[in-house]
């Protein structure tokens, strides 16, 4: 039997609104929506995506869970998303709680702030993972046992860390060049670890739904449940890991593409095929590992390069995060929770993603999700915010001295 492991990632960042140097020292709310054009406000975007995606997709998932007692799914839900729901769309959060209450929806561990902290500060990274664990316990009453790092950014050190932290598995991209002939349809383990497994995304089958589903240029368009079902491997594979953004449903693939009809049909087909079953990521982690898979360099699930270049590929992006993390010690010791919170919200990886200037079809994807006129604007607003934090820290210092 081959297990379908469907995992969806739910996230919204607190976008920095057009924050000018003339606000530095005066106005410390970098995320204040009132400065942004209406359609780029965090609240408006959340409500729009809720209407297009979260609400109908959760209804679809709940329906499937009620209809098929064996259907299972896993979700990762960021802290920033939950904060936004609490503020602006509590009904969305309730609908997620309803899913988790079925007992067949797993929640995956990650950083609260959807950050790249692992690559800058192990201390801060662990703090954010703990914050996320506490929030998930609070909201859903469950404790995640499988870990994913932001953007599936994974390397051997993360595998090692997750093992020591007691996670049963880590999620990563099943990128051919690093698998060296191994198939992503088996369970592996990172090198030099005791217990942690590695679950690797089957990116072809995942991207058929997440990216290609509505593409009329694609030779396989239109994609039907029957066709997709026939593509699933049917040998001795342990797993088929379908990992994608939750917003695939209704936001990346709009409702009129037929995604909300396709997915339930597909689950019907798979459910009535004895060769397959559904597993959560935690259940998949119980399967025996076939082999070790080393990944020395960091692999992510983004762009053609599958590396961190979409976030850290150009000097603006590097400077931004270096400037932010350089303040870590001072921020954490300033004892002003508002400064600490805002410093953490600036760590969300989306901020540097908006600064990407790669000229490829990937670049278009970035532009589609960016709330700014240009990557340079994203950089300036962000750096002005960092300057304000620095300004506030000096003020704190001055007050302490006097």
């Amino acid at each position: 039997m081959t297990a379908l492991v469907i995992y969806l990632h739910v996230h919204q960042p607190f976008r920095v609104s057009p924050y000018s140097i003339f606000s530095v020292g005066y106005d410390h709310d970098y995320f204040d929506d009132s400065r942004s054009p209406v359609d780029q406000r965090n609240e408006i975007i959340l409500k729009k995506v809720a209407e297009k995606s979260y609400i109908p997709a959760n209804a679809m998932l709940l329906d499937l869970l009620q209809k098929h007692p064996d259907f299972k799914i896993s979700l990762s839900i960021t802290g920033t998303f939950i904060e936004q729901c609490r503020a602006w769309c509590p009904e969305v959060l309730t609908s997620f709680q309803r899913l988790v209450a079925t007992g067949r929806v797993d929640i995956v561990a990650e950083t609260y702030h959807h950050s790249l902290a692992f690559f800058y500060s192990r201390f801060e990274f662990e703090k954010q993972v703990m914050m996320h664990r506490d929030l998930i316990r609070d909201v859903f009453g469950v404790t995640p046992k499988v870990f994913r790092n932001t953007e599936l950014a994974y390397n051997d050190q993360i595998g090692k860390w997750a093992d020591e932290a007691g996670y049963r598995a880590v999620l990563a991209e099943g990128w051919d060049p690093v698998l060296q002939g191994k198939s992503s349809n088996y369970v592996y383990k990172p090198p030099n670890t005791e217990r942690t497994k590695l679950l690797l995304k089957n990116y072809r089958l995942s991207d058929d739904i997440a990216f290609r589903f509505s593409n009329r240029e694609w030779s396989e368009w239109p994609l039907t449940a029957d066709k997709y079902h026939s593509w699933l491997p049917h040998g001795d594979e342990q797993v088929i890991n379908l990992f994608m953004d939750y917003e695939t449903f209704g936001e990346h693939q709009w409702s009129d593409t037929g995604i909300f009809e396709f997915f339930p049909e597909l689950i019907d087909r798979i459910n009535s095929d004895d060769h397959y079953c559904f597993k959560t990521v935690t259940q998949a982690a119980e399967l025996p590992a076939m082999d070790e898979v080393p990944m020395e360099s960091t692999v992510t699930w983004a762009d053609a390069e599958r590396d961190l270049s979409a976030w850290l590929g150009n000097p603006m992006q590097q400077e931004s995060l270096e400037a932010l993390y350089r303040l870590e010690y001072e921020v954490l010791s300033c004892q002003d929770q508002t400064i600490i919170d805002r410093w953490r919200l600036l760590q969300t990886s989306d901020h540097v993603y908006y600064m990407d200037i790669k000229h490829s079809s990937d670049g278009d994807v970035h532009a589609y999700f960016s709330p700014y006129g240009s990557p340079y604007d994203a950089f300036m607003y962000f750096m002005n915010a960092v300057r304000d934090i620095r300004w506030q820290l000096s003020e704190h210092q001055n007050r302490r001295n006097t």
Partner: protein
């Protein structure tokens, strides 16, 4: 393809981007086989070295065998030219226009051309007369409208009339940007499908051999001390939006004493701008170079870190491309046509002083931003060439002369 090209200036005899654009376009067209007669009000000795086309100056009736009884453009001495005292857009412009029209008409008699390409309103009077008499297909190339030159005020009514009539009569109108195309449509009622956009361009090869430097020791020294050199260049007129630029400069300087602002060029607003910089308390940070040509002009680009195009209304803005070719980071107003061909520039609305100041401060306080903008804009320039502009232009000529023009008047 025999082309009658009507122009007002050519480098080095030019006051701005018009002459450069005409020269580069003509050269690239010649590369595609166009035989060009280029008519100028005045011919400079250096124009004799131009071999890819025939340049005719109307100030030499002997050369033209024109009618000496008609008004003749006044000759310009070399010393006036070098000092910048010669202004091809002088106050006698209406009279000059008249002379140009009559002399050109005389010149064109008995010549055979396939197409006529006229640059800006000054040549449109002649173009219209020639079209009436010889029924030559007319391309009216708009580098700037009278609205742009007036920079927000209404402009000269007679010039508006000549401009509008010329554009109405043209078989095809060429705009140097989408912005200008829109403007021509709205201001003069020219249908959009009669207007095509040909962005100005640049050939990086023209700039690679440049090794001068040393004209501005003071600026160089400040630069070595870590100051950021912020340059703007052009005629000092309302159109260029320099009042806003100076106010932004003052705001940025109040926050961060790390800038030298260089205003290159001369014009009617010079004294006001000098006074304004003093009132703003930044007179010592602002360098007015006056009118510059040749080496001093190139050195100004070379000594700049950041080039600002502050125009209130700029149909294109060739200087921005030249600055990028000299390795400057660019800040452009959203009201500049050049904005349409470059992604890698910072942008602001000409009136938004806070935003420009913000951008300047960010450039000065970031290690990565200025180098990245320079490099990325330079990379973009590699994708531009006058050759591809000329190829498109030849194609338009062919359409007009074959009588199967897609563009019906």
């Amino acid at each position: 393809m025999k082309v009658l090209m009507l122009g007002w200036e050519l480098p080095p005899h030019n006051s701005g981007g018009l002459g450069v654009a005409c020269y580069q376009l003509a050269e690239a067209l010649a590369g595609h086989g166009a035989k060009i007669d280029f008519i100028l009000p005045r011919k400079h000795p250096i124009h004799k070295s131009i071999t890819f086309m025939n340049v005719h100056g109307l100030d030499n009736p002997a050369e033209l065998s024109a009618d000496a009884g008609l008004p003749i453009p006044k000759p310009v001495s070399e010393s006036m030219f070098q000092a910048g005292a010669y202004d091809p857009f002088s106050s006698d412009i209406i009279i000059e226009h008249e002379a140009y029209t009559k002399q050109t008409l005389k010149f064109v008699n008995n010549q055979n051309y396939d197409v006529m390409h006229a640059h800006d309103w000054l040549t449109l009077g002649a173009a219209m007369e020639i079209k009436k008499l010889h029924n030559l297909p007319l391309i009216a190339h708009v580098h700037a409208t009278e609205f742009d030159r007036a920079g927000g005020s209404t402009g000269h009514p007679l010039i508006h009339e000549i401009e509008q009539n010329g554009l109405l009569m043209a078989d095809l109108v060429v705009a140097v940007s989408h912005r200008t195309k829109q403007h021509i449509n709205e201001a003069y009622g020219i249908p959009l499908d009669k207007i095509v956009v040909m962005h100005n361009s640049i050939d990086l090869n023209d700039f690679t051999s440049y090794v001068d430097g040393g004209s501005y020791r003071y600026i160089q020294q400040r630069r070595e001390e870590g100051y950021l050199i912020v340059t703007t260049m052009g005629r000092l007129t309302t159109q260029k939006g320099l009042e806003y630029f100076l106010r932004a400069a003052a705001k940025a300087s109040q926050r961060l004493d790390k800038f030298v602002f260089v205003v290159g060029g001369d014009g009617e607003l010079r004294n006001e701008l000098l006074m304004q910089s003093a009132q703003l308390g930044i007179a010592s940070q602002v360098v007015f170079t006056g009118f510059v040509r040749g080496k001093k002009w190139r050195d100004l680009y070379k000594e700049s870190d950041i080039f600002v195009m502050s125009s209130v209304s700029e149909p294109f803005g060739l200087t921005a491309l030249e600055a990028a070719a000299h390795d400057s980071a660019l800040i452009l107003t959203n009201q500049s046509g050049v904005s349409e061909v470059l992604d890698h520039a910072l942008r602001y609305d000409f009136w938004d002083e806070d935003r420009l100041a913000d951008q300047l401060i960010n450039l000065a306080s970031s290690q990565s931003l200025t180098p990245l903008l320079k490099k990325s804009a330079y990379e973009e320039l590699r994708g531009l060439s006058w050759d591809s502009v000329a190829r498109y232009c030849m194609d338009r000529y062919a359409h007009l002369t074959s009588g199967v023009s897609e563009v019906k008047v």
